[in-house]
Symmetry: C5
Subunit: 90 residues, 5 copies
């Protein structure tokens, strides 16, 4: 999974019919200090997160392993809200 930060929303009226009701969030990838990187992806929310929150995003077919995304054309899902990271210098 990648680590990201919710920075916005995508509005879409015309979309694949199975996607009605989907919430598309813009997730910017962050490093371990939560500093934003340049790249971003659009992911469907499966846990209920808000702007500025740090999340984990699963991609590929794994993005379809939630009740809402099952059998739908989405390749990225937010499957966890991150509380904190424990990093150890080894």
């Amino acid at each position: 999974m990648i680590l990201g930060k919710i920075i916005g929303t995508v509005w879409s009226t015309r979309k694949e019919e199975t996607l009605v009701g989907a919430k598309f969030l813009i997730v910017r990838q962050v490093n371990l200090k939560y500093e934003e990187k340049e790249n971003f992806i659009v992911a469907v929310d499966s846990v209920g997160v808000g702007l500025g929150e740090i999340v984990l995003v699963a991609q590929g077919s794994s993005a379809r392993q939630t009740t809402f995304t099952k059998n739908k054309p989405v390749d990225a899902v937010i499957m966890a809200k991150v509380d904190k990271l424990d990093i150890t210098k080894v």
Copy 2:
């Protein structure tokens, strides 16, 4: 999903037999200001979009989760036309 802009069409007469009727569009990836990046992909249209429109593209096996693309050798599908982005500086 990645964010892209429709910039053209691919014409193909000889193709895998299940792909007859497929509309292959050229999608250039864009940033959050809709500025075009260098890289592009070719995707099948599942929602009916036109030149210059901003879209979301799902890739991998998720690209086959639409009525038209099911069981076909395509790895990228346009599954939403983007109306607008709401970006929040957090």
Copy 3:
């Protein structure tokens, strides 16, 4: 799908048993002017293409959605020969 140009062939005697008869082509990725990029991939041909031709390549599990590649360990398939591109400056 990515856009590529056929530049060669891979000869392989010892391979996974289901791949006997497979034609492995070397596809160099090209830009929209058909100029070759540095990176290349090896793909199985499902449509019958020749040297120098421009093609579309589908990757991942989508590469197994053709009669020949079904259930085989290949992750890239040539599924269309490109006649031409229509690019519009929007």
Copy 4:
């Protein structure tokens, strides 16, 4: 698979319901001398590893081929702890 080093843990209370009990580890990619690269991923542990250990990570749908990850929205799994590498200069 990629080669990585366990450098930390992700704490998450709110997550997809099937992921309760999952242990999310932060894995920094390393080179063949075990020197850390910049990029990292978050992976589920299926073998029981600890901080500083070198591991192999499988990604994509292959990450769901373990008893714990089956049918769950995770795209990276630690499936082996590395004892050592034998590198030969050929």
Copy 5:
């Protein structure tokens, strides 16, 4: 598929139980002149190859389409030993 050269072996005692007996090889990606690139991946051998040999590697779910790798958490498999490349300047 990507083109690579076998440069070593990964030793692992503790691993996912279905992987007992798996042979993990270190494959460095090469260019068309067989010159080694910086990046490498670890792949399971399905054809019986040795150090210094040039191979093709299939990734993702396609890596599980061999008798040994079926339903196992591996995302890269060596599915062909390369005899030679025929490159044509077009």
